[in-house]
Amino acid sequence: MVFRFTDYHRPVDTSQLLKGVLDLAVLAVLRDEDGYGYDILRRLRSAGLEEVGDASVYGTLRRLFQAGHLTTYVVPSEEGPHRKYYALNPSGRAQLTTSTKVWRGFASTMDTILSEGASA
C-alpha cells in the first residue's frame, strides 16, 4: 500500500510538478474507462503518481466537471455505497487531445533545455 502522506523520506518532491498536469492525468485515466473518485485516485497511484494527494484529485474532478469536461452518473448498488462515476464528454475528449499535444511539446522543449544545459 502506498502511504503518500507518510513518505517523509522521499528524496524527490514531484508535487510541484504535478500541480500543473493533474488535469491532464485525470482526463487521461478516464479516456478508456469511466471511474469513481477513489478508483481514479488508485489508477493514478498505480500508474506511478504516488505523490498525488486525495484532496487534489477530488478537487480536480470538481473543477473539470465545472468546466464542462466531465459528466457524472450514479451507479446504485445493493451492498455498499452508491458510487458517482465520472466520464469524459466530447468537450473533455477534445481537452484531452489538446492538452496532450501541449504536454508533449513542453516535455520535448524541456528535454532540449536539459540536454543543452548539461553540455554547456
Binding site: 500500500m1 502511504f3 507518510t6 523520506h9 473518485g37 484532496a55 484529485v57 477530488y58 478537487g59
Partner: protein
C-alpha cells in the same frame, strides 16, 4: 491487513473528519461547500477500509485536506478570519514531533510498523513460558548465577533458545494470527493484558540474572569473548 477496529475509521471518526473539513470551508457558499464535501464520506470509508490507524495519518489534518481540496477545485483561499490555524492538541503535536525525530511523519506510523515485531516477541514469550511450566525447562535464575561467568550463561541461553525453537515458532504463529484478527474492544483488552503479563513475567524471571551479570563486571568479558 484490513483491521477495521481502528477507532477513526468508524462512522464517528469519519463524521468528525467531514465536519472538520466543512468547518474549514465555512466561508464558501453553502451549495459549493456541499458539492465539495459530498463525496468525502464515501472517500473516507474507502480509505478506512484500506488502511488501519487514524484518518489523519493517511490524509493529513482536516484543515490541510480542506485547503488542498479548495485549491484543486480552483476556489479562492479564505481571507482574514480563517487565517490562524486552530491550536493543535498536545498528543497530536507529540505524535508528529516524535515521529519526525526518527524520520516518520507520525510516531503512530512507526508504532504500526513495529506491530509485527511485537507479535513475534509476544509469541516467543508465551511459548517459552508454557514450555517452562510444562517441562520445567525454564532456567532457574538463581541457579544460573552460579554458572562460571558470562560465557557459559550466554551459551546456556543460546542452547535453551535452540531447544525452544519449535515451540517458539508455534507461539509466534498463534500470536501473529491474533494480531491480524478482527477483535472487538473487549477481546483486544484481554489480549493486551495477556501480553503485559507475559512481558512482566519475562522481566521478573530475567531480572536477577541481568543484575548478576552486570554486577560481576561481566559485560566487558562477554564482549571480549564475542569479538576477541
Amino acid at each position: 491487513m484490513n483491521d477495521i477496529s481502528a477507532p477513526s475509521g468508524t462512522r464517528g471518526g469519519i463524521d468528525t473528519y467531514v465536519a472538520a473539513v466543512r468547518a474549514a470551508l465555512a466561508d464558501l457558499p453553502a451549495g459549493t461547500r456541499d458539492e465539495l464535501v459530498r463525496d468525502l464520506p464515501d472517500h473516507l470509508a474507502e480509505v478506512a477500509a484500506e488502511h488501519t490507524g487514524p484518518l489523519d495519518d493517511r490524509l493529513g489534518p482536516p484543515a490541510r485536506y480542506a485547503a488542498e481540496l479548495r485549491a484543486a477545485a480552483g476556489l479562492p483561499e479564505p481571507r482574514g478570519a480563517v487565517a490562524a490555524p486552530a491550536p493543535v492538541p498536545l498528543p497530536t503535536r507529540l505524535n508528529h514531533g516524535l515521529g519526525r525525530l526518527i524520520g516518520y511523519e507520525t510516531f503512530g506510523r512507526f508504532a504500526a510498523d513495529l506491530r509485527p515485531a511485537w507479535w513475534v516477541l509476544r509469541g516467543s514469550l508465551a511459548e517459552v513460558l508454557l514450555a517452562a511450566l510444562l517441562i520445567g525447562a525454564w532456567p532457574d535464575a538463581g541457579r544460573l548465577m552460579y554458572l562460571s561467568g558470562p560465557v557459559s550463561v550466554f551459551r546456556y541461553l543460546l542452547a535453551a533458545m535452540a531447544v525452544a525453537l519449535p515451540f517458539t515458532l508455534a507461539g509466534v504463529l498463534v500470536s501473529v494470527r491474533l494480531g491480524r484478527a478482527r477483535l472487538d474492544a473487549g477481546q483486544r483488552t484481554v489480549v493486551a493484558l495477556v501480553g503485559l503479563v507475559l512481558v512482566g513475567v519475562a522481566i521478573y524471571s530475567v531480572w536477577p540474572l541481568a543484575v548478576a551479570v552486570l554486577r560481576r563486571g561481566a559485560v566487558p568479558e562477554l564482549l571480549y569473548w564475542i569479538f576477541g
